[in-house]
Symmetry: C2
Subunit: 299 residues, 2 copies
């Protein structure tokens, strides 16, 4: 079976269409890579690309995109709402199929080493690729942003994993990491009371004592005049979709509120959905890898 890796680089350009087009062309130029999706946000001034490929081609495309970004994005002139520290701000790899997290960490290290060696950009490894606990959290790594990085790199604890204590003058610093697949999932409630969505979000999210692999906030959908629990599913193996739906359902019942519907944003692995089918259909002794036809067809 072919090993498949996903890569989701975030670039600090969401306004200049010529540069975005150049990134797209670069992404499409590497054989063995599929550009699944890309989106740009002008107010964030940031673009997010989603690519998949085998373990070799995903390394090549990641490097070539970082190279293109370093040559075409000038961080000294960058403005935008989203925190950022480099032309390629973050470059996470995600194990998708027949590959372990450890193997993806190896891939992250190879790409980080090459970026630093050929382009002179200092690299921090983060999340599952982090070299020490305080670097696991991307927000801590990026704290100070592009403007604060020259000083931060001189601090005792913040020597880059690859490269010297000195930013790339225009491309800044890049974080290369490995993380689990993340799914954005929203649950719409039949209430116009945002307070209820906020209370439920607080109950379910890990940071306030709920499910460890759940991030959630309440959001008002102005056009439909309903409140939504907006969720990031950080680890679908440990925290499946049905569990968040059923938990939100019984918490909402306290207010006499029902679930109107849910939204899956972007892509999810088939297994994330099939795990929920398995729960609701009460399947006994179901074997995902053996009983799903497509698992015998892929590569």
């Amino acid at each position: 079976m072919a090993k498949i890796v996903e890569c989701i680089p975030n670039f600090s350009e969401g306004r200049n269409q010529a540069v975005i087009d150049g990134l797209v062309a670069t992404a499409k130029s590497i054989p063995g890579v599929t550009l699944l999706d890309y989106s740009s946000d002008a107010s964030h001034n940031r673009s997010v690309f989603t690519l998949v490929g085998d373990e070799e081609s995903i390394q090549e495309v990641a490097f070539q995109l970082v190279k293109y970004a370093s040559e075409n994005i000038d961080m000294t002139k960058h403005e935008g709402e989203h925190p950022r520290m480099g032309a390629t701000d973050v470059c996470p790899f995600v194990p998708v199929k027949d590959i372990t997290t450890a193997e993806c960490v190896e891939i992250a290290n190879k790409v980080a080493e090459r970026i630093n060696r050929e382009l002179g950009i200092p690299i921090f490894l983060y999340e599952d690729a982090a070299s020490r606990p305080e670097r696991t959290n991307l927000a801590k790594v990026r704290k100070g942003q592009f403007e604060g990085m020259p000083e931060k790199l001189l601090e005792e604890d913040w020597k880059p994993d690859y490269g010297e204590r000195k930013i790339h003058p225009t491309a800044g610093v890049t974080a290369v990491g490995v993380r689990m697949p993340l799914v954005a999932f929203n649950i719409n409630l039949d209430t116009d009371n945002l307070d209820i969505a906020n209370k439920i979000s607080k109950i379910i999210r890990g940071s306030s004592g709920g499910y460890k692999y759940c991030k959630a906030i309440g959001v008002m959908l102005e056009d439909r005049n309903i409140a939504q629990v907006s969720i990031n599913m950080v680890n679908l193996e440990q925290f499946p979709l049905y569990r968040v739906v059923e938990t939100v359902r019984f918490e909402a019942q306290r207010y006499g509120v029902r679930i109107i519907g849910t939204e899956l944003i972007g892509l999810a692995p088939a297994k994330a959905l099939i795990d929920s089918a398995e729960y609701y259909l009460q399947l006994e002794d179901f074997d995902y890898s053996k009983q799903v036809l497509e698992n015998h067809l892929l590569g």
Copy 2:
């Protein structure tokens, strides 16, 4: 995207391991074909093979298996519980991915023509490949079995679709067809009363006024001392898994009986399971082909 076809030939040999091994070796000898599963039943004296491949290689493997069976199975000496009329009794093709039923009917005709031309076995086309309505139903085509076929072929209505009105002396007659993916799915009830499972089966199955694409019977699971509704899902697009589960659930409630669990037998397409996840999770505007990651990876 590569067109993928499934083929599920049934052979009238479930006892002689050497012949079964020969069929397996033949199945594995064709490039582009994957042997997903095979199982032999001694009391039925029958083996069922499940193969997938592209549209060319599936034709080749089907022909080579029929050829091997015709050279190694002697129907004049065959005994077994299951109705049968040929060494290769039936050979259905199933559209799996990016291929229409009409295209599979073309494949069935090509394979049928070649079997008759090169091996001299007369062929009836059945189900979606049938040339007239009364041949749709395999049971009607096979009625009379191997022993009755010489006479049946002489009847006005039963000239084979390919070949003369004369059986192959040892390989008999083969039915080649096209059908939708079929999933075997059982629902276990927390009762030892088989009568309840039978009553529910009668309500849900098409033949007695229930769902058109549902076949069902009540079965007693002696080892667990529970009754089961044993179901064949004949068309998963028109009759999804969640619908049969929820219908059995509310019908069982009349007797105070609950669903203990369900069993998926063999393989199912990912979409059949994801359709049920979509229902239970109440997904709004979900797009299977776009939002499932694996759909961007397959061939």
